[in-house]
């Protein structure tokens, strides 16, 4: 057969590779800054854009979508061409994809710091950026499938299945979770409310970990590990089981992020069961990776690429054992809301994602620049800095997590809570400091890599178009009697559809009952929509990223009820677009903050938290006291809420601002009684209105019930 000559496009791989390195450093710097802010709140500079509540989403988005995202694209654009023996389908689409993605990242960085956020973790970006992501993702898909359809290799190697599953599932997750109704340019409200919003969000959040941070990286593992070790993967059969079992089971496990919350019990149990089953495919994948190196461990000693991969795969195994264990209700009861979870995700992030990305870069750069790595010794030093960094990061946070939980849950013999919440914070500050040292070491390692790669690049000569040759696929393949799976794997679109069906099933089973069966969210009659001022205040709460440190979800435990008040009910959140349950308690839960302190306490606390709680690590929010509330947006906000089913009376949008002003003046008057003079039109007044409302509706019902009993 006639052999065709063609060349692989390395230029696009280079571009994505550079972006990976740049955003690794940017994302880690943001993370380090956020980590330092926790014990040194003054490093927030008392500026709105640089407070923890905005830097933390910047860090998570930069690491997930900018660093790991670009790493995925680097690896996919390199390996897909070679696995398909074909150049990328369209150079133009490749570059639209590249520049589109970088623009999205730039827009994300600017808007997150400006406080434009949807308030849903890992999906904070506002609606115009969500749309841009969708479009660029489609461009990537067309380019990927175009390449696959033009391939000169009959079979689709397992790495490509992982890429296909990633593409289709991320598309589905992103679209479903991003349903939101725009209020204005850069402001929207989630279509879902309360429990349903939480369910969708954690179905998304969990599977963003699965299908953005795991499956594409596994695809990279199945390509680059055999490459680097120069031997096929240990068991290709196992890789097939790994693939199907992983994508099938992963999608169901989201509710394990919501154990003991107001989510219906059956949904929580479903999440737990599937999370436990996840151990098997995850460990199958890990063992498959490690066994690939059987008899080649001498190479691991020599080759920094393999060193990074071994630790990465081990961290994958550790994180995927820990994940299912954390989804057991009794372990979740201890770990949730604590720093344990932060340690857990960083085993995955620093160990698995980071180290796989480094391994890939150390492999690719010498190959594409046709040279040797500048210094193996520096790479080995990077490896050790990174590894020690991970340990110094994770161990103190595990310790901190246990300490927090123990302190939260300890009662005195008299039956009182033994510790103030603040004591649990100040007690673990040494752990927070050590953690940031670990993160600093890890970042230092990454900087060593930058230097090493720059030197390598300077010494080599870039091969922009790598020549290759292969025979084209015969036009008519006889199918005859062959196995169905080979039939599937020759047909990428069939594989796409089957993958989609497999991941849709889990989502559908989880969501349909929660959306359609009313008894899952019992109505509480005293729960009423927010007043216009409270709604505006709530948007400030969302804007400042309060949910990054404060939960609004009291679990039905003795200590939480004793500390915060009545546990949270599903029916309390029916008007919460978006839900603000949070996932971490660096500060105390706020679900029953309403009425707990006078207005003046909140006013002073926002100006300088240490004035009200000495030793507090909360940043100050002085601009809330100065900035005027934007009331022009009120009518539009009310109208969108009405569209979403919040029962404001018809025409309320026209009178909402009168209502708002009246309530604001009442609060200003109360503040005045406490000797605080403030105009009623400041943002702080709206925030106080919201905070004083949170969690109080249910008390009205209890009062009503009590009233009834007395009357009888």
């Amino acid at each position: 057969m006639q052999v065709e000559k063609f060349c692989y496009d390395n230029k696009i791989v280079k571009a994505f590779g550079y972006a990976t390195v740049i955003f690794a450093v940017v994302g880690m710097l943001a993370g380090l800054w956020a980590a330092i802010q926790i014990y040194a709140p003054a490093t927030s500079l008392n500026l709105a854009p640089t407070t923890f509540g905005r830097i933390r989403p910047l860090h998570t988005n930069a690491i997930i979508f900018a660093f790991v995202g670009n790493c995925i694209f680097t690896g996919v654009y390199y390996s897909l061409q070679r696995l398909c023996k074909a150049r990328m389908f369209s150079d133009k689409l490749s570059w639209i994809h590249f520049w589109g993605w970088q623009l999205i990242i730039a827009a994300a960085a600017v808007t997150l710091l400006m406080g434009y956020t949807s308030g849903k973790e890992y999906a904070e970006l506002e609606w115009p950026i969500d749309i841009a992501i969708t479009l660029i993702w489609v461009v990537f898909g067309i380019n990927m499938f175009g390449t696959i359809l033009q391939r000169r290799e009959k079979h689709l190697y397992v790495a490509i299945w992982f890429y296909i599953a990633t593409w289709v599932t991320v598309a589905m997750l992103h679209i479903v979770n991003s349903f939101e109704i725009p209020v204005s340019f850069m402001k929207s409200y989630s279509w879902y409310a309360g429990v349903q919003d939480a369910l969708v969000q954690w179905w998304y959040g969990h599977n963003a970990v699965a299908f953005f941070l795991t499956t594409p990286i596994l695809g990279l593992m199945y390509y680059f590990l055999p490459k680097a070790a120069n031997r096929p993967v240990y068991s290709y059969r196992l890789s097939i089981i790994h693939f199907w079992a992983l994508i099938f089971i992963y999608i169901w496990a989201g509710p394990h992020h919501l154990l003991y919350t107001a989510l219906p019990d059956w949904a929580q149990s479903l999440g737990t069961v599937f999370s436990l089953m996840l151990i098997f495919p995850s460990w199958g994948g890990m063992l498959n990776g490690l066994f690939t190196l059987r008899g080649a461990w001498d190479k691991v000693r020599e080759d920094p690429v393999l060193k990074f991969m071994v630790v990465a795969i081990t961290c994958y195994g550790m994180a995927t054992l820990e994940g299912p264990l954390l989804s057991l209700k009794n372990i979740s009861a201890i770990a949730h809301y604590s720093d344990w979870i932060i340690a857990h995700v960083h085993i995955g992030g620093l160990g698995w994602n980071g180290f796989m990305a480094f391994a890939m870069l150390y492999y690719l750069v010498p190959k594409m620049w046709d040279t040797q790595l500048y210094s193996k010794k520096l790479a080995t030093n990077h490896f050790w800095l990174g590894t020690i960094g991970i340990i110094l990061y994770a161990v103190p946070l595990y310790w901190a997590g246990f300490t927090q939980t123990l302190m939260w849950k300890t009662f005195t013999p008299e039956g009182q809570l033994k510790f103030q919440f603040l004591e649990s914070v100040t007690n673990i500050i040494p752990m927070y400091i050590t953690r940031s040292v670990g993160g600093g070491l890890y970042l230092a390692g990454a900087l060593l890599m930058c230097y090493n790669l720059a030197k390598t690049i300077a010494a080599g000569k870039f091969i922009a178009n790598e020549a290759a040759e292969a025979a084209p696929l015969p036009k008519n393949i006889k199918h005859g009697k062959e196995h169905w799976h080979r039939w599937i794997e020759r047909r990428p679109l069939t594989l796409l559809v089957v993958s989609l069906i497999v991941v849709v099933i889990g989502g559908v089973v989880e969501m349909i009952p929660a959306f359609l069966v009313k008894s899952n969210i019992p109505t509480i009659t005293s729960v009423k929509p927010y007043t216009p001022l409270e709604l505006q205040g709530r948007d400030i709460y969302v804007r400042e990223g309060c949910y990054t440190c404060h939960s609004q979800m009291i679990r039905p435990f003795r200590d939480e009820v004793a500390r915060y008040g009545e546990y949270s009910k599903a029916g309390e959140f029916v008007y919460d677009h978006p839900f603000q349950w949070g996932s971490k308690r660096t500060g105390p839960d706020l679900a029953r903050i309403g009425g707990k302190y006078p207005d003046s306490w909140h006013y002073n606390h926002m100006d300088d938290p240490t004035s009200m709680s000495p030793g507090s690590v909360m940043p100050a929010y002085p601009w809330l006291l100065d900035d005027a509330l934007d009331t022009a947006s009120t009518p539009a906000k009310i109208r969108v809420m009405q569209k979403l089913g919040v029962p404001y009376p018809a025409g309320f949008d026209k009178t909402a601002n009168q209502d708002l002003t009246a309530q604001a003046e009442a609060i200003a008057a109360r503040l005045k009684k406490d000797k605080i003079e403030t105009p009623a039109n400041k943002e702080i007044v709206a925030l106080i209105a919201y905070l004083q409302r949170v969690g109080t509706d249910i008390k009205l019902e209890q009062q009503a019930a009590a009233g009834k009993t007395t009357m009888q």
Binding site: S79, R82, L83, E153, H155, Y157, V158, A159, I181, W191, Y192, A193, Q196, Y222, Y223, P226, K227, N230, R231, P232, V233, Y236, R237, S239, I240, I241, W244, A245, F248, K367, E466, A468, E469, H483, W484, H485, R486, V502, I505, V509, I512, P513, F515, L516, V517, K518, S519, I521, V574, K643, L644, G645
Partner: protein, 56 residues
């Protein structure tokens, strides 16, 4: 536009659980059957795809 509780109740909601378990069970049986019955040489051939590069 509302996305809340169109139905008060799903008739026979149990069927949802049973069906999903059924799909799950069948899916894995079929996959495992295939994996263990397939031709070893073919599998070996596919697993070498990344290595069949001239650059090696």
């Amino acid at each position: 536009m509302k996305f809340i509780n169109y139905l008060e109740k799903i008739g026979g909601v149990d069927i949802l659980g049973l069906t999903s378990f059924g799909i799950f069970f069948i899916f894995f049986i079929v996959m495992l059957t295939w994996v263990f019955k397939t031709d070893k040489r073919k599998i070996e051939e596919i697993s070498r795809i990344p290595l069949d590069n001239p650059e090696q």
